[in-house]
Amino acid sequence: MTVFLVLVMLFAGAYLVAVLEGWTSTGRLRFAGPFWAAVALLGRESIVPRKPDRVLYETAPVLLLVSAVLAAAVLPLGPHLVIADLATGALAVNAALAYVMVALVMAGWGPDGAYAMVAGWRFLGQLVAYSMLIVMPITAVAMRAGSLVTTTIVESQAGIWNALTQPLGFVLFFLAAMAVCFLPPFDLPTAPGELAGGIEAEYAGPRLAVVRLARMVLVVSLSLAVTVFFLGGWLGPFLPGWAWTSLKTLVVAATMLTAGRYVPRLRGEHVMEWGWKLGIPLALVNIFWVGITLVLRSM
């Protein structure tokens, strides 16, 4: 039952995010837009490129969707509204997200097209840059909660949200989250102007539909992760828990979608250099900051 509920909300969220994206890109808010777009994609042909690595080419979209769904599966929408409340939930999120990269590398190599291949390896580089900025802030969050269980992490924020106690970690995690779902300005693997669609360039019809769906679900999962780890998940007055979670998640998603429109795409080398020379040191500072505050409080 919970599973069903959560999945329904997940895909509903994905749909709303798609609507939001349409709004940011065209300026018109069309609630039927994603539906028609999806049907149109289903109705179009979908070919396999000339001499592909068929296995990788076909696996990539599925794997992308699977990893996005699994990431959401361990994140709670409400006190008891979580598919799998794993003891290592916070870790499991990373595990699921790691396969986003695997999927994109497959999608890059599979079709034997130049644009796609460059895009695929580009994203592996992007992972090298953002991965630590996902992991380290989560560690700091786990320190405060004294547990990796996502529900416990939310409850640990009953007093005050993590976003306020560890703003540094929040900002880093937010940016890294945008990088995971390759939204602008981190859209190096899809870069329309630079690589004519990159990893998406060879997918069409139903396959493209799956890729797009996976992308949307991914955005929702990451926004949900930000909400759970830093914005106090379901905590909030008056409204029921799940409503608060959905509300916060959508706000985060909208911010992610709009933010990238007002800055140019980052250069790959900058993403890496800044991630390592700025991001990781700051993330470590964040960990120590949290550590010290916790020790002081316990005294």
């Binding site: 390896w121 998406e200 360039a201 140019p264």
Partner: protein, 553 residues
Amino acid sequence: MITGARKGETSWLRRLAARASSKELAAFVVPGPEVARAFGLDLGAAGLRVVPSPRHASVLVVVGGLPEGLRDAASVIYAQMMRPRAVLVLGSDTASPLPGPDVSAPMDQESLSAAVARLRRAFAEGAWDPGVEDYAPEAAATETRYTCPMHPEVVQKEPGACPKCGMDLVPREVSSGESDGEEEEEEEAGELHHGSMDHGEHGSGGHEHMDHTDMGFMSMVEMTRDLQPSGDGLRMEWVEVPFGPLFPGLPGGLALTFTLDGDTVACVQSGSAVGRGGGCLQGVPVDDLLEHLGRIDPLSPVAYRVLALRAVENAAGVEPARATAYLGALEHERVVSHLGWLSSFGYLIGYEWLHRRAAGLQLALLRDDTGEGETLWGDLSDLLQRLRGATLLRRRLEGVGRLRTARAAEYPGPVSRAAGLPYDVRSEEKAYQDLGFEPAVQEGNDAYSRLMLHLDEMERSQEIVQAVGSVSAPDDLGVQDGISGEGDATVETPRGPARLRVRIEDGMVRSAELETPSGRHAQLVEDVALEHEVADALAGVASLDLSPWGMTR
């Protein structure tokens, strides 16, 4: 029915899909969106979503007829689009070798919207059809060749073993264009980038199926001894990747090919698929010269019209008084053209806001060309302010596409002015001097300084337009016919000085020589692209603001 319909009887499900695809028209634009904007067409407002890959497109939009240099490319793109697909042609009623067109319309916004409406209907009704024939232009035809994965220079018509290492040859499709005839050339290419992996010494032929034991444990040292190393001393294989003539990030018609070493540009070939040059002007009656020259470059028609006018006046020995009347038109076009470049550049570097804002302003300025709407000028200066303050934009572009100053000096126009060299044809013209014109100059000589220079130039041009008021473009020569003489004129087009030399004999152009800025700047492509990561290389090329129409084929 549409020409690119899918085969099949209609069912309710298919009708639904047809309806959907009629609502979601995704367009791939030929020659390119920048041309559509230059003609004042707003594809987005008409309901066409422009997409970067033919795989995602359902409509092929041809703007202003299909230049014959783009025929093959366009037919390949159309062949690679997924059915249901259709062709929309603007400003012409044929686009062979493309089928159809399903819908054609003159080039103005109203007819465009009407055409899109018709297109929607066509999709809704005819996306599926029992009778569908293949689209097979010879440009898209491929034939199978057999080649050795280790020795790409080995290319045979029939399968077999590689003469060099005895491996089974693998089939690979080549476009029938580049079959035997071009194989030699292709062979050189092979030698250039992977041919040098000639490691016959451990290939030790004869084996039906070589496995690693033959090669020892594949010592890369031996294997790559004679590959040319990259910047960091590693030796890898290179691959040739086309970035044109129909690449979404660059002006349509710019035929660019990068040889990539990983994600870095190792060799560059550039050219234009649409350039015409002055040759086409021979034997043209003088009265038509204006029209002909005006049609050379859709991205800056006015400048070339003025050029024609001045050349003829110069030939006729008329005092070029009337030329000064067209300052307003020239400068107005400069603003419009720079905005168009900004928009395309914004798309290339993924700056969505800039892409849309600049395009919107460009179209608005094209509509009320007096720029009278003070609001427009206001919006423009807002845009400029905002871009000057954009930090991430600076970080993105600084150092990209940098040239040696000495090199830039040979290329008068925005490029050299962005290198701190104040040369500008306009500063020598009296009309401009009277207005107290000062050429804009920027230091830096990279993509960022070029961007900033474009901003400055827009500001100055705007001032001039406001000072002059009239922005009417020359529509007739107004010289008595039957004139003869030598004419020579230079005009600072938005992309730099263009020079026309004509010899006219009793009303006919005997010979004409046209020097265009883009023709010169094309030689800089290699300088800005080589050894850069592909995105930076593209940004560098785009920062030169090339117009393929002005380049020579």
